[in-house]
């Protein structure tokens, strides 16, 4: 099974509360890469059932115009998650997000329910992807196991609020309290060949702080960030979109390596910088990201 959406561009994943019809009816106008339709924490306990009907009909009837539709189900320790999966898969969601993931077994259990739902509702096997949110010290320590638990799993995401609570600290805005988790998760995700997403930034009055936060996680290697407000989208996309000078340089690197390889030359310079085969994948990634971001005009 290989779902072509597994590696799609996911710079922004915007949380939306399924309890609020006004929020889920037209979020595509803000052009996030993905939306996260939440059945979990944002939904009041007595509205869990009602949120599902809204989710189902929104998935069925609203054209989200290519924006990925991820559904966050309730935790495996709740009585809701199985029906959440049936509803989301029947509705036609693209992916399921598992909250509070702490082991490969958690992924396996959800995968089995997703397979059963795909069969029950006549969806192609493998059409529904999975992602896992890590929200505890145990989850972070098991990151690699979780990343490798299923071929359907496209990535892992940090949930900073719950994680810092478990660590007996709190969100400071400096990122110090998240350093270890972030680093461990990116390394695990890269080792397993899946994507990695950072936690939300909740202070909407501090857009400078938000930008610094996104710049930091971009440099660390994260694929994108969970967001809570449309105002955050442009900043993330700006930081994640390759700049023209980087695209031009990457193009030169790819072309020169292809050319020199044919001539049996391993090391050479491009714009005064030493280049060898080790630069190839990075340059290709820049081109692919530029293409996915809609800013590439070259011929590679």
């Amino acid at each position: 099974m290989s779902n072509p959406n597994k590696k799609r561009l996911r710079r922004t994943m915007m949380f939306l509360n399924c309890q609020k019809p006004g929020l889920i009816k037209d979020p595509y106008i803000y052009k996030p890469d993905s939306i996260m339709l939440d059945l979990e924490d944002a939904v009041a306990e007595k509205e869990k059932d009602a949120a599902r009907y809204s989710l189902f009909h929104a998935l069925r009837e609203i054209d989200y115009r290519g924006v990925e539709r991820v559904v966050r189900i309730n935790g495996l320790d709740s009585p809701y998650w199985r029906e959440d999966i049936r509803c989301a898969v029947a509705g036609g969601c693209d992916s399921i997000r598992i909250p509070k993931t702490e082991s490969a077994q958690d992924v396996h259990v959800v995968e089995e329910a997703v397979i059963a739902a795909e069969k029950e509702f006549g969806r192609e096997e493998g059409s529904v992807l999975i992602m896992a949110a890590l929200e505890s010290a145990r989850g972070i320590m098991k990151a690699l196991d979780i990343c490798e638990a299923s071929d359907r799993l496209f990535g892992i995401a940090l949930s900073g609020g719950d994680y810092t609570k478990d660590l007996q600290t709190h969100i400071t805005g400096t990122g110090i309290e998240l350093m270890g988790a972030r680093q461990n998760m990116v390394i695990a995700a890269r080792a397993a060949g899946v994507q990695c997403f950072d936690t939300v930034y909740t202070d909407l009055d501090d857009m400078d702080g938000f930008r610094k936060d996104v710049e930091a996680i971009h440099l660390m290697g994260f694929d994108g960030k969970s967001i809570i407000n449309p105002r955050q989208i442009e900043i993330v996309h700006d930081i994640y979109t390759p700049k023209q000078k980087d695209i031009i340089f990457a193009e030169k690197v790819v072309k020169e390596i292809d050319d020199k390889k044919a001539k049996g030359i391993g090391v050479f310079t491009v714009d005064g910088k030493m280049i060898d085969i080790a630069f190839y994948d990075g340059a290709k990634r820049t081109i692919e990201l530029a293409k996915a971001s809609g800013v590439y005009e070259g011929d590679l």
């Binding site: 609020k20 009816k25 009602a50 009907y53 809204s54 189902f56 199985r82 509702f121």
Partner: protein, 101 residues
């Protein structure tokens, strides 16, 4: 589907609807009441959506009241279903893609 108790779903927020259902005596049929901010433009359409939903779920006898605040058709269906399934006390193994569609 038999409505066995009073139930409510939805809110009075913009783009939403509040739906209230009550059991009705067997054979008494459907009693429908609508209050909408767009009743002149969409009253017939809202009524049709509600009646279609009742038919799909095979609800014969019910009193149903809608206070609509400009809900999309998909929201209206969701709220009607929410109230009906609560009224029938069913929360699991729901007929997604079947009677709910």
């Amino acid at each position: 589907m038999k409505i066995t108790k009073n139930a409510v779903a939805g809110t009075l927020e913009s783009s939403d609807a509040m739906v209230t259902v009550e059991p009705n005596a067997e054979g008494a049929g459907i009693e429908f009441n609508l209050d909408s901010v767009v009743i002149n433009q969409f009253g017939n359409s809202i009524r049709r959506t509600v009646m279609d939903t009742l038919k799909r779920l095979d609800v014969q006898d019910v009193k149903i009241s809608i206070v609509d605040k400009g809900a999309l058709d998909c929201t209206l269906k969701a709220r009607v279903e929410g109230a009906l399934f609560r009224g029938a006390e069913q929360t699991e193994n729901l007929p997604w893609g079947g009677a709910i569609r």
